[in-house]
């Protein structure tokens, strides 16, 4: 057998490889400005539509400002769609054969996926900032001080990060970007509407209330309302509605623990 003259090559460093991939994904944003611009417009449009169309029609139990109630729901909904953003990015790289190039390189096996999810968090932070500014414009306020505000932002990004791992896995299962988009939207729309994001849970039919109660989108929405002092009408004294912050942490940990290994396995095994 051949004698290998060179020193054994070092393993790819997971951290530096992930940073390179993150850099690559972020470079894309200014190169296709239309994507970010329309994502921002869409977010602003949602805020305005809900604030002005439903704002008067949905009374909150126990009173309270609907727009203040609404904004955490909009944040949760938009960031649940992080899964779609990530899935579309993954499918695009697969369809263009780029993933083969990365898989043929001596880089860390998880870096391609970590880089993707981390860059999507940065992207989502940008979207979140725009959403918050639009929210401020329609009358949403944070009442509980800087620390709790930042805790809420951190929790939102953590939730987006977990959703991205769902998207990584999903993106590798489907054949084209169009399918990725369809699947992600079909899965996430009901997830966001069967929650307390836009309506108080009391207004849902009784059998649907537990579903919405345990929905991860409800958890993050209620957590944000609690942290920021926005109206948060409880429906039951169930575990999720009493511990929304803890529930959000459990959901995100669960998503990452399930979908990160599934994604890495799928990545290593694509086309095997």
């Amino acid at each position: 057998m051949t004698t290998v003259q060179e020193a054994p090559p070092q393993q790819g460093s997971a951290l530096s490889d992930s940073l390179v991939v993150t850099w690559r994904n972020l470079k894309r944003i200014p190169r296709i400005p239309e994507l970010a611009i329309f994502a921002i417009l869409q977010s602003v449009m949602f805020v305005l539509l809900f604030a002005f169309v439903f704002g008067g029609a949905i009374p909150l139990p126990g009173g309270g400002n609907y727009r203040e109630f609404l904004m955490p729901g909009i944040f949760a909904q938009t960031l649940a769609f992080a899964a779609a953003t990530t899935a579309i990015g993954m499918t695009d790289d697969m369809a263009k054969g780029l993933i083969d190039r990365f898989r043929s390189l001596p880089m860390s096996r998880s870096a391609f996926l970590t880089g993707r999810t981390v860059s999507d968090v940065v992207y989502n932070l940008g979207i979140l900032i725009v959403l918050m500014l639009s929210g401020l414009a329609v009358g949403w306020r944070v009442h509980e001080g800087l620390a709790r505000f930042l805790a809420g932002v951190g929790l939102t990004l953590l939730f987006a990060y977990a959703m991205s791992w769902v998207g990584v896995w999903l993106g590798m299962l489907v054949p084209t970007v169009e399918v990725a988009q369809q699947v992600a939207f079909t899965a996430i729309f009901p997830l966001t509407f069967l929650s307390n994001a836009f309506v108080p849970l009391q207004t849902l039919p009784g059998w649907l209330q537990p579903v919405a109660d345990w929905n991860p989108v409800s958890a993050i929405t209620a957590a944000l309302r609690e942290l920021w002092g926005n109206p948060n009408p409880f429906v039951t004294n169930s575990f999720p509605s009493e511990h929304p912050i803890l529930m959000t942490l459990i959901w995100t940990a669960l998503f990452i623990a399930i979908f990160a290994p599934l994604g890495v396995r799928r990545y290593r095994a694509t086309s095997r």
């Binding site: 057998m1 051949t2 004698t3 290998v4 060179e6 054994p8 090559p9 070092q10 393993q11 790819g12 460093s13 530096s16 490889d17 390179v20 850099w23 690559r24 470079k27 894309r28 190169r31 296709i32 697969m94 369809a95 263009k96 054969g97 780029l98 993933i99 083969d100 190039r101 990365f102 898989r103 043929s104 390189l105 001596p106 880089m107 054949p175 095994a269 694509t270 086309s271 095997r272």
Partner: protein, 342 residues
Amino acid sequence: MSSTAGGSTPAITAEGLTKLYKSRSGEVRALDGLDLVVDEGTVLALLGPNGAGKTTTVRILATLLRPDAGRATVLGYDVVSDAQRLRRVIGLSGQYAAVDENLTGRENLWMFGRLYQVNSPTARARADELLDQFDLSDAGDRPVKTYSGGMRRRLDLASALIGHPRLLFLDEPTTGLDPRSRIGMWEVIRSLVRQGSTLLLTTQYLEEADALANTIAVVDAGKIIARGTADELKSSVGGERVEVVVHDPAQLGAALRLVSDCCLTEATVDEHTRRLTAPAAGGAQQLVAVIRALDDAGIVIDDVGLRRPTLDDVFLSLTGHAAEEREAEAAASEPVAAGRTA
């Protein structure tokens, strides 16, 4: 099949590689016990039609696919158990020009260099060097989406070279390129060959294998069915042949006798197209003799020429069937489709 020559160490050895793909119509054997030896410092072309198993072979050797049976080593590394070390010393450039179109050429090269675990300043310097070598310096700071097909392909090849690989896989390096870009690509590949790279390339064109490779291995239905130099393969099909199309069907018989006499073998005749074909061992001289004889006899011809054996001829003579695409395998062996077939 020839094995290691002159005591040099094989750069690639493959034994009994087998790969099955599941398709709607059942299981497809993309590779069916493929054996292969490639010596260090040589260029081997895998020649075959779409779906013969060329791409699957490259993907297994480049660690992208696991074989279902058989084993392979590349530069002494097992492609399955030593995949990560192997990736450090090989380069892969495919038919799908896998470069990021939103990055500039320079950024692509830097990124792939970093992921080859080259440090940043070295990757930057190597990127400059490769842009220069591949005539992309002027376009280096433009996003790749503004590149032509030929430029993308050159950048893709440059990306494969960023880590100074000891062995390079080129999967159909010129498929889909216009003739001018194809010649440009050949020049680039030839210069790599002159530098002594070990290269395994796949192609559907005998002409291309002929132009670039020392040795050609003909692949069909997941196996190597012949191996040799281009000349050896061509002579196995009978070398060049002369073809004549006679204007008047009434003169076919006379023409057939004359052509057969000139070529010292019985010519074949297709009555419908009025076409006569005969082996032309003497090349152009033989063609001149045929034209002269026909002209002297007053036979009017519509067309005449020397034809080199094509991949089709080689295939016909080796397998008894034409080199047509096998639909199911073709789909399975395309990288993108293969990505879904897990």
